[in-house]
């Protein structure tokens, strides 16, 4: 049993073990990695990380290690690997283009967990997270009382109980206020009553903990949130943050222990359906060329690709442009991975790639739909020679939407 506890395979599923083995080391994924694009360092690339992790497995649980002596892995190698696996934005582009189809967006959090469990991660921004969530409900340690007040539109009424519930999410409420404000205004325009948890109840969805490999609190957070929405009679939980939506739909059922008692919907899905049901419409024109950036965890993560475009195209006069890499092949904006503050230089450089392409395509606006992208791309534009107005999908749509009175 002892060896199982110490094995580098203990956090991996059988499929993930096979994935590690399946990497042909062809290096094809490097061309699609945003971190490679801005650093050009193959030593932190996907095949190298996979190769090194295979070495860890071999050194501690391989044939030689079992029948002769396990190797002691040099601490420096472990630290370098940890840094490499955290420098990644976990965007999953490498897996999307992988020659054999390794699900890297899912693999990295588990390799990170292994390094966390071994006490090799000391980024304060991550290690402080569990405490911050315990204290304030959010991973950034912002005051609870400022969760909704600074941005929530006064005229909008929230129902005590309703089949539709809205989860705003920590990154949006503290870092991308126009985005969550837009969400709520559009929900109000749709006209169906919707409910929300109170600022004490709406805690972190668990995504930053999951992605950084700290899984201890996840079951508790999930159960708290699911039970709270259940008590409000929720049948559809609407959220606009791609990361929240990703963990809610992919992982919450596992942490909750059974199927969720409600459906998860991305905000653009909800709005697109409302447009089709003619609950809302847009009459006012916007004669502009806009370019939409697909967030990795929304497009590659849960396959929401058409709906944001449907919502944008509902505004008459809009010309919708596309990035060279879009849809499920989109390029990360640099904000992913939960440690963007540590690897800020990379994040800014990657963010500028999106800005540059949008400007080169002569777009009037760059449309985002993720609070992390929103914060990082805005930051990337500071002191950059190219400028373009950055707007969230719902921030824009809220300015044009009109309710269709029955």
């Amino acid at each position: 049993m002892k060896d199982k506890k110490e094995s580098f395979t203990r956090n991996l599923t059988p499929l993930q073990l096979m994935e590690l083995d399946a990497c042909t080391q062809c290096g094809e994924c490097l061309r699609h990695c945003p971190v490679q694009e801005v650093t050009g360092r193959p030593s932190i690339s996907t095949p190298e990380k996979i190769r090194v992790f295979r070495e860890f497995i071999k050194a501690t649980g391989g044939l030689k290690a079992r029948f002769l002596n396990p190797k002691v892995i040099d601490r420096k190698i472990l630290e370098d690997f940890t840094k490499a696996v955290f420098e990644c934005t976990t965007c999953g582009a490498c897996g999307q283009k992988c020659a054999v189809g390794i699900f890297t967006q899912r693999l990295w959090p588990y390799l990170r967990k292994e390094m966390f469990d071994r006490g090799l991660v000391d980024y304060e921004i991550l290690t402080n997270m569990p405490e911050a969530i315990k204290k304030t409900g959010n991973p950034y340690n912002f005051p609870v009382e400022e969760r909704f007040k600074p941005w929530f539109p006064e005229q909008v009424k929230v129902a005590e109980k309703s089949e539709i519930a809205y989860y705003a999410g920590c990154s949006g409420v503290y870092g991308a206020k126009p985005m969550v404000r837009g969400d709520v205004l559009v929900l109000d325009a749709i006209g169906d009553p919707f409910t929300m948890l109170t600022e004490d109840e709406e805690v972190c969805c668990g995504f930053p903990l999951f992605i950084s490999g700290q899984h201890d609190m996840l079951e508790d957070l999930t159960k708290r949130l699911v039970e709270a929405y259940k008590a409000k009679g929720t049948k559809v939980l609407v959220c606009s943050c791609p990361c929240c939506v990703n963990i809610m739909s992919r992982d919450w059922p596992a942490f909750y222990g059974k199927e969720l008692p409600f459906r998860i919907r991305h905000m653009t899905q909800h709005v697109s359906a409302a447009l089709k049901q003619r609950k809302i419409m847009v009459k006012k024109e916007l004669k502009e060329r806009i370019i939409y950036h697909d967030p990795c965890y929304l497009s590659r993560g849960v396959g929401v690709i058409e709906e944001p475009r449907e919502v944008l195209k509902a505004i008459p006069g809009i010309e919708l442009l596309e990035f060279d890499r879009h849809g499920s092949e989109s390029r990360c904006c640099g904000a992913g991975g939960a440690v963007r503050k540590v690897f800020n230089e990379n994040a800014i450089a990657i963010g500028r790639l999106a800005i540059d392409e949008a400007v080169a395509k002569k777009a009037d606006k760059l449309i985002l739909s993720c609070p992390a992208c929103y914060g990082k791309v805005n930051e990337a534009m500071q002191d950059h020679d190219k400028k373009i107005p950055i707007v969230d999908v719902m921030e824009l749509f809220a300015q044009y939407v009109e309710r269709v009175e029955p």
Binding site: T13, L15, E19, D21, T24, G27, G40, V302, G303
Partner: protein
């Protein structure tokens, strides 16, 4: 000497088997032995199997990403496959009809194999900026290049006595050492192969499973959050 070579062949073959079996065992252990099969035996639509077969046969994922790499990679793997089939003639006392039929294809593949390897190695060196190569890859490719080049040299210039090669191979299979063929090129070719065998990459077993899962995932992506 003959006995020694036969012994070396046996050891190399054993290493190869144990290594592949160990790799499989690791996966089974991680799943607690029981959970592995349900994962892979769950119902998968026929279209996912078809996609996987096409991916494996034609390397479609690489094709969609880089035609330059695809050309080298696909020709290399397909050549290796046919060259392996051609070599079967040394291990069957009388060759099955299907293998007789494939002999000319195997011969052509024998010439393509070192060319494709050389192409891939040049590609990796020229496009260093965005290509990744581990030292393991270089070693395996280098050894394969040597093995295939000595194979071509034997076919084109320094032909060993095919009959004695066959007797030697059959002898190894039956653990009854026979006379070594009188060809130093053959000895080199065979020795390099023995060195390579234990180090053959295990991805040839794992990759098809991973590819099947990837195709299933792509098919299911639509339904993570959308209704069926």
């Amino acid at each position: 000497m003959n006995a020694l070579i036969s012994f070396a062949a046996l050891v190399s073959y054993l290493f190869f088997l144990v290594r592949f079996a160990w790799q499989g065992l690791q996966v089974l252990r991680a799943s607690g032995y029981a959970a592995f099969f349900p994962v892979f035996l769950r119902r998968v639509p026929a279209s996912v199997y078809i996609s996987t077969i096409l991916d494996i046969l034609f390397f479609r994922r690489i094709f969609s990403s880089s035609k330059v790499l695809w050309m080298g990679s696909w020709i290399f793997h397909i050549s290796l496959f046919f060259v392996t089939l051609r070599h079967m003639r040394y291990f069957f006392p009388s060759l099955p009809a299907c293998l007789i039929f494939l002999q000319p294809v195997g011969l052509a593949a024998g010439y393509l194999l070192p060319l494709s390897l050389f192409y891939l190695m040049v590609l990796r060196t020229v496009q260093k900026k965005d290509r990744y190569t581990s030292s393991y890859n270089y070693i395996i490719s280098g050894m394969l290049l040597l093995i295939s080049s000595t194979g071509v040299a034997m076919r084109a210039f320094f032909r060993p006595d095919v009959l004695s090669v066959k007797q030697f191979s059959l002898g190894i299979l039956s653990l009854g050492p026979r006379m070594l063929p009188d060809s130093s090129l053959f000895l080199l070719h065979f020795f390099l192969f023995l060195l390579l065998l234990p180090y053959l990459p295990t991805h040839i077993i794992a990759a098809p499973f991973v590819n099947l899962e990837a195709n299933r995932r792509i098919k299911e992506l639509r339904y993570v959050i959308h209704e069926r």
